[in-house]
């Protein structure tokens, strides 16, 4: 007689060792890492060509703004590689800018929720996403990531939440509900913006009916770039907010 318990045991332990050990390549695939221009290339010429090619305007003649990058890999034709620092995030959009297209400097953001101890409640709101970001956030609950082992759980009401996790580009009709959801969070609270859409609008920046960037509507505490960011990117973001990322473990090369 087969049973659920037996089934679960047969699968064995799936759960990631992150953040105790660095993330693996499976967990943070190449396309979840930021593009970077390896040293030794003719920077000005490469940046110029890549700027023409980049569909989001993330690359300019002077550098690369990771807040806009959707990881489409088009700049790899010009010599960029997806070798940037894994699990990068920032508390100010300007910290996601890398002049000359080099790697992002390591910066640990301030931790607005450092006083909350080991329990964090997340409330997910969709401002206008393609659903991939939503599912990557909710993937934290699956056995591979099992965020509950770190005290991180999802709640069904903003009244019980510590962190407002926002995905997608804000559309005009969602602005008011967004503000109300933010107000409903008891303090201390934080806003986590997930994905290119929630940063600067990603590919949809400037579309009629949308109102990017999100940080003009809500006080965003941490930005997690990517399209979509991998679940561990998101987990690293949550832990950064709580001051529980002592260092930023990268991906083994």
């Amino acid at each position: 007689m087969p049973s659920w318990i037996g089934q679960a045991f047969r699968r064995g332990i799936l759960t990631s060792r992150f953040p105790r050990a660095p993330a693996s390549r499976e967990e943070v695939p190449e396309t979840s890492r930021p593009p970077v221009l390896p040293p030794g290339l003719e920077r000005i010429a490469v940046l110029g060509r890549a700027a023409d090619d980049c569909p989001t305007g993330a690359i300019t003649a002077d550098g690369l703004y990771h807040g806009r990058c959707i990881r489409c890999a088009r700049c790899t034709r010009q010599g960029f590689t997806f070798g940037g620092r894994a699990l990068a995030n920032a508390s100010r959009p300007e910290d996601l800018y890398s002049p000359g297209g080099g790697p992002l400097p390591e910066r640990l953001g301030p931790a607005p929720l450092a006083g909350l101890g080991r329990s964090l409640q997340l409330f997910l709101v969709d401002a206008g996403s393609c659903l991939a970001c939503n599912r990557e956030v909710l993937a934290l609950a699956n056995p591979y990531y099992d965020a509950a082992r770190l005290g991180i759980t999802f709640v069904n009401s903003p009244h019980h939440a510590d962190v407002l996790v926002v995905v997608g580009i804000p559309t005009r009709p969602i602005l008011e509900p967004l503000r109300r959801a933010y107000e409903a969070l008891p303090g201390p609270k934080a806003v986590l913006a997930i994905g290119a859409c929630a940063l600067e609008g990603g590919l949809f920046r400037g579309n009629p009916g949308t109102q990017a960037p999100l940080y003009e509507t809500l006080p965003v505490d941490l930005f997690v770039p990517g399209c979509p960011p991998s679940p561990l990117d998101i987990l690293a973001g949550v832990l950064t907010l709580a001051g529980r990322m002592k260092c930023l473990p990268g991906v083994p090369a």
Partner: protein, 422 residues
């Protein structure tokens, strides 16, 4: 017009669906002129001249003593997407559910005209991430039909692999959400884990968990080398075995089966009248699947057992999905085994303007893209997604159900608000 007593579903939608259904009887893809035997202007006029909205009238009993309207959303528990529902009720029983699409539109369709195909494809993929392969494939097939570009079979093959992978992923996701609604915690966790396995396979072999950038106008980014194919085939057979073990447990769970049985029923005549698509249609006794009618390779040459049920309830829809997980795995096995030779696509853009139409069977049903192109740029584009087709059926299925059925009905339909973006 969203009046007090009615709800219109995307004005041009119904007409478009009828039009494409008419085309579907003749072929699956091609340029519009070819398909209809009419010139392009007729086709265009036809679309713009039909302005009558698709209106779902509220039932009789909706107004009466003690009934009230209960807004649900946009950040509602259990619906991880920004959509609203207006529920008409007098308490326990749901008299009517009116889904609202106002919160989500990101203006994607409107942003496509004028874009080079390559840029447009990136936006099309991101219309609905979990269904990116279907949207990208249908969009690309339509542009190729419009431009008259001959399609090497390798391209179609890679697109089919991507679509079938995503179908398995999405069906597992629906199963996991149903398990969650029925408080089957172990089942839910294990099914989510299987779905995660599929995302990782996609990432390993196509370079992206959600297959973004995997299918492009210039040909897929990766062509699945022989080592990839054997690795993928091995992983999938292991996954199939784990799925069977899991499903056996679901089947044996009285709670799970009881919650689904009789919930959110769609009758055969409703399904036909309202133009249901996908598992919703097949679960209501209509054995229709676009893949079986595809006259071109690879689907033409593959063995595909058609899943269908006749009960029309959430259980029937789930059974159809389970069958489709199996048949997709079988298709993948055949696809990976019979790999075509040949080169990639010739990216020379057709200069003459053309309009093309393509449909494919997305995880939640028939998806149609209709694109006009010139000089490698999009002039105009439209689509009819399975969600757009199935939302009215959802509203019908909710009539006279109880509150606790709501999530089961919703999840078993596998609908998304993102796909209604006009």
């Amino acid at each position: 017009m969203t009046g007090e007593r009615s709800l219109s579903y995307l004005p041009q939608d119904r007409s478009f669906a009828l039009f494409t259904d008419h085309l579907a009887r003749q072929s699956v893809r091609g340029s519009v002129a070819e398909l209809t035997g009419q010139d392009l202007r007729v086709a265009r006029n036809w679309r713009s001249s039909v302005t009558e909205p698709w209106v779902l009238e509220l039932g009789e009993e909706v107004e009466g003593y003690g009934t009230f309207r209960f807004p649900y959303g946009p950040f509602s528990m259990g619906v991880p997407e920004a959509g609203t529902f207006e529920i008409v009720t007098y308490g326990e029983r749901i008299l009517e559910v009116l889904p609202g699409f106002g919160q989500k539109p990101r203006g994607i369709l409107g942003s496509l005209p004028g874009l080079p195909l390559e840029d447009a494809a990136l936006r099309v993929e991101r219309l609905a991430g979990p269904y990116s392969a279907s949207h990208a494939s249908a969009f690309l097939f339509a542009t190729e039909a419009a431009a008259g570009t001959p399609l090497p079979s390798l391209e179609a093959h890679v697109r089919a692999v991507a679509q079938e992978l995503q179908r398995v992923y999405n069906h597992l996701h629906v199963l996991a959400r149903l398990a969650e609604a029925a408080s089957q915690n172990v089942g839910q966790a294990q099914t989510h884990a299987l779905a995660e396995d599929l995302l990782r396979l996609a990432s390993r072999h196509f370079g992206h968990r959600w297959l973004f950038g995997a299918l492009l106008p210039r040909g897929p980014s990766r062509h699945l080398e022989p080592s990839d194919r054997s690795g993928l085939a091995r992983s999938l057979s292991g996954l199939g075995a784990r799925f069977e073990a899991l499903w056996e447990l679901f089947q044996g769970s009285r709670t799970f089966v009881d919650r689904l049985q009789g919930t959110g029923r769609v009758t055969r005549s409703q399904a036909v009248m309202w133009g249901a698509v996908g598992p919703v249609l097949r679960a209501s006794g209509v054995p229709w699947d676009d893949r079986l009618r595809d006259p071109s390779p690879p689907y033409r040459d593959l063995f595909l057992p058609l899943a269908h049920q006749s009960e029309g309830d959430a259980l029937a829809r789930t059974l159809v999905r389970v069958e489709e997980v199996r048949s997709s795995l079988l298709l993948l096995e055949q696809l990976l085994d019979r790999w075509p030779g040949g080169g990639t696509i010739d990216p020379a853009p057709a200069v003459a303007p053309g309009r093309g139409l393509a449909r494919c069977e997305a995880p939640s049903g028939d998806l149609v893209w209709d694109v006009r192109v010139r000089d490698g740029k999009v002039l105009e584009a439209g689509f009819r997604s399975p969600s757009q087709a199935n939302w009215p059926l959802f509203a019908l299925a909710c009539r006279q159900s109880v509150f606790t059925d709501f999530h089961f009905t919703l999840e078993s339909f596998g609908l998304s608000f993102a796909e209604t973006d006009g």
